[in-house]
Amino acid sequence: MLYTDDAYTPYEAEIVEFIKEHHDIFTIRLKFTDPELDSKYFFRPGQFNMIYLYGIGEVAISIVNDRNHQQGRFEHTIQVVGRITKGMMKLQTGDKVGIRGPFGTSWPMNEAKGKDVIIVTGGLGNAPLVAATEEVLKNRNQYGKLRVLHGIRSSDLLIYDDMYTRWNNSPETKVYMATSNADPVDNGKWTWGKGYVTNFIPELSVDYANSIVMTVGPEPMMIGVAKAFIAAGVKPENVYVSIERSMKCAIGHCGHCQLGSQFICKDGAVYPYPACEHLLRVKGL
């Protein structure tokens, strides 16, 4: 994290672009207004920032990375859930917010080298894995096959469609998309699949024994994904998940993100599945 004196105080950042993704989902592209800070800012795939909205407060949001590979910009895709995100929906280009970060652990991009990479996401869980996917594509020869699996409730909830098409047309890469809704409301335009992401396991044509799985979605989904891929032959230590909990401080002080002995903000949010399986299993922990 970038900070000198105080880990609690944000830095000013400017919205350089506001992209409406869906009726309640939007993406903001940001840069720090201090050019020096902007040039120093560095993050790894899977990390998150605390975004501050004037007069309302801060919220922890994963960094999507820059879909257009512009340097010195970072993006967040946000869904309206509470007070702060509702206020953020009204932001416009040129507006200022506060940023603290980046925080947390990152996806195992080094461990994934030489392996087939399977990205499995559900709902808005695709946002925290965009950067990891782009990282594989940028360094294509260092990784094996890339498989991107994404599940959504119904086809109208799909965001990043252009990006998925681009990925699907990339070398050694294939995108599998499924809606759990039996009849997507798409007037026949839906060209992707139906059902659940795990249904694709038999057709991925990867070497499961030498694959790495990175998954983000609701906890029951991540557990189901982890179990299914382990059953298919992926080594448990090669399955990674990202856990979400309330965060007020992001620096391990406020206590809100505790899950057993873990502070998700600094010990996570990205974990090897065997390191957190026992914690996810206990109701109310």
Binding site: D5, K96, S246
Partner: protein, 365 residues
């Protein structure tokens, strides 16, 4: 016995004057209406001379006697925590101009405070919170500045109240580290003083105190031994507690205690080690400036685990279990220390008399 000095009661004012001359605000336990809690003092007469406290599950009472002691009570209602990690404070502010530009500014307020009379359990509470706010991945600059400007005069216990259980945790009602000076009061006489830092030595040098006599030092140790003997609560060895609690997350006792617990959070508010807090904005009406506040929160609050539309610990059973397992088990994984000092405040201030020691014993037996 030359490492023990003696401060007669008549010379407390000299010590306070010396500290005040060095720029310290002196804070000590003080009697206020129906309780003894920390407050600013300027002179020896401000100390709670002759007062005693009664503490039992859900019970606290202060009585006055003719005894000639300033520290005849066992424990103030509050710990030192609020002086370092404030119950509520502005941690930064942001000004917004007409163009919407945001100017952030940290707010770091601190003063030199000498705490006269810190019980050993509260001293350990400071040591535990140091690991959260000062010896962690990120520090809180406010906490660090306050700690750097703090002078700690420990006051060893000469008796225990019925909720005390530091001995059951493997500690003792005697300060062993983390103090500038440690004192033990001898009734009708004064304090046997021990030096714990260069700052402490400088203060004693300035006062030119005489060495304590062998008899005075022996008397002080006997007083502490009396406090040890006064504690009746027992627990299994702490390592065993730590393991057993996490191995019994579905124990029926969690339902039992949840049926009594009100989820009021009193225990967390009086605890010297609880560090949970929330943050919120308090904007001015003009929309030109916001103060960002940090305020104590409690894992007993239903909002504590609210995340993105889900409440992970909706059932009070899970909230009590989070509090107890954190204090007595997962704290070790997080901070390489236990999360409890055995001060017993959570027992005293529980409106339904839940005794954490009984709960642990019920689960770990």
């Amino acid at each position: 016995m030359s490492h023990y000095y003696f401060l007669p009661h008549q010379r407390i004012d000299d010590m306070l004057n010396q500290l005040q001359g060095d720029g310290y605000k002196c804070v000590a336990p003080r009697h206020h209406e129906s309780e003894i809690n920390y407050d600013t003092i300027t002179k020896s007469a401000d100390l709670p001379w002759g007062f005693h406290d009664e503490q039992a599950p859900g019970h606290y009472k202060v009585n006055k006697s003719d005894h000639k002691h300033a520290f005849g009570f066992v424990l103030p209602t509050t710990s030192v925590k609020p002086m370092l990690f404030k119950a509520k404070e502005n941690i930064w502010k942001v000004a917004r101009n007409d163009e919407g530009k945001l100017a952030f500014e940290p707010i770091v307020e601190f003063e030199k405070i000498a705490v006269f009379g810190v019980r050993p359990c509260d001293l350990r509470g400071i040591e535990i919170q140091d690991r959260v706010f000062m010896e962690n991945s990120y520090n809180d600059v406010r906490y660090v500045k306050r700690r750097e400007n703090q002078f700690l005069i420990a006051m060893n216990c000469t008796k225990s109240h019925s909720n005390c259980f530091c001995v059951a945790l493997g500690d003792a009602p005697q300060a062993d580290k983390g103090f500038d000076l440690a004192m033990t009061e001898i009734e009708g006489d004064g304090f046997v003083v021990e030096i714990g830092s260069d700052k402490g030595r400088a203060l004693l040098d300035a006062l030119d105190l005489e060495a304590a006599s062998g008899g005075q030092a022996q008397k002080a140790l006997a007083k502490i031994a009396y406090a040890v003997d006064g504690q009746k609560k027992t627990l299994p060895p702490i390592k065993e507690v730590e393991t057993k609690l996490m191995a019994n997350l579905e124990h029926p006792q969690w339902d039992d205690v949840a049926s009594r617990c009100l989820s009021c959070g009193s225990c967390t508010q009086v605890c010297p080690t609880c560090f949970c807090h929330t943050e919120r904005d308090e904007p001015n009406v003009l929309g030109t400036e916001t103060h960002h506040t940090r305020e104590w929160d409690s894992c007993f609050s239903i909002d504590h685990s609210y995340t993105h539309g889900d409440t992970y610990r909706e059932d009070p059973k899970y909230r009590y279990r989070q509090w107890l397992t954190h204090k007595f088990s997962t704290w070790r994984d997080q901070f390489r220390t236990k999360g409890c000092v055995g001060c017993g405040r959570c027992v005293t201030w529980c409106p339904v008399k839940i005794d954490v020691v009984d709960e642990i014993n019920a689960i770990c037996k």
